[in-house]
Symmetry: C2
Subunit: 147 residues, 2 copies
DNA sequence: TCGAAAATATTGAACTTTCAAGAATAGATG
DNA sequence: CATCTATTCTTGAAAGTTCAATATTTTCGA
């Protein structure tokens, strides 16, 4: 008979593991594409989020690009050095720093978007449109539930 | 009319982003549970993989636990210091190092497995058995395709 | 309005990861 | 079998991340 208390599944059956593995692989592939422009995935995320032209505070941005606070600060320091983004003080709340993309940043963003889209297209093609859409739907729903 | 070449979806629609977000959140939660034992997620993975009692070479292990080579070496160094695992030379191929779990490691593994299973159960409950199973299935299939 | 508490961002030190190179062993080729 | 190449693992230096503490500004209650 199957004992119900304390099954012991292999690690490959844990959702946490499957997510980590899938994320690692897809991220690796995206990274390889972005290497053409010498930009880490996180910087693409930042540029993409900032491409709406509105100022984003460091706090907002950290959430949006999935980085924690001090990590973002230091990554932004590097991007400021590269003249991709710039800081401005929020006039309405002087504790806040608002981030904007520079012209140079915007131009780069377009090239990066094209590379990222190519990856999306590649996945949709090899993995299937239907499965891709369904996977995205389930992931969104998991994020909703888990957050 | 919709222009087909070069749509520009928000980042939240990219599979790479959704995977990163979901992984981050689930990993965070697992981390919080494992904190009871003061062990990082990666060390649980290592212990769990080694709990089959067979020797795993560093190369195999690195693949299995989703770490790259030098990172694993240094994490194993720490675990050896904590007497959780030990190294042995492979008699059949003296380039290889075989890793084993110690008794102390095995005892810890059991406690960690219980914590991890509780998370799995929590997810299955809040997110739904059906959705969880389907998500796992899709992730496995994505990994197959992408690897 | 004053002062305590909360929110926002940055910093420095400690720790971890990564990259490139190196050391050791095994396999292959002439 | 001698040597050349490939495989496996580790190391040291550089780069990146994280934790705890700090500085600044805002909010809120007495």
């Amino acid at each position: 008979m199957a004992r119900s208390p304390s099954r012991n599944p292999p690690i490959t059956e844990h959702l946490a593991y499957l997510l980590a593995q899938a994320n690692r692989e897809i991220n690796r592939q995206l990274e390889a594409r972005l290497r053409d422009e010498g930009v880490p995935v996180e910087q693409w995320r930042i540029l993409k989020v900032l491409s709406d032209g509105k100022g984003h505070s460091m706090g907002e941005l950290a959430d949006e690009v999935l980085l924690n606070h001090p990590t973002l600060t230091k990554m932004i320091d590097r991007m400021v050095s590269d003249a991709l983004v710039y800081r401005a003080q929020d006039p309405d709340d002087r504790r806040k720093v608002l981030m904007y993309s520079s012209e140079r940043g915007k131009a780069l963003t377009q090239r990066l978007n094209a590379l990222a889209l190519r990856q999306e297209a590649h996945i949709a093609e090899s993995y299937g449109d239907k499965a891709t859409a369904e996977l995205k739907r389930l992931l969104e729903s998991l994020i909703d539930t888990a957050t």
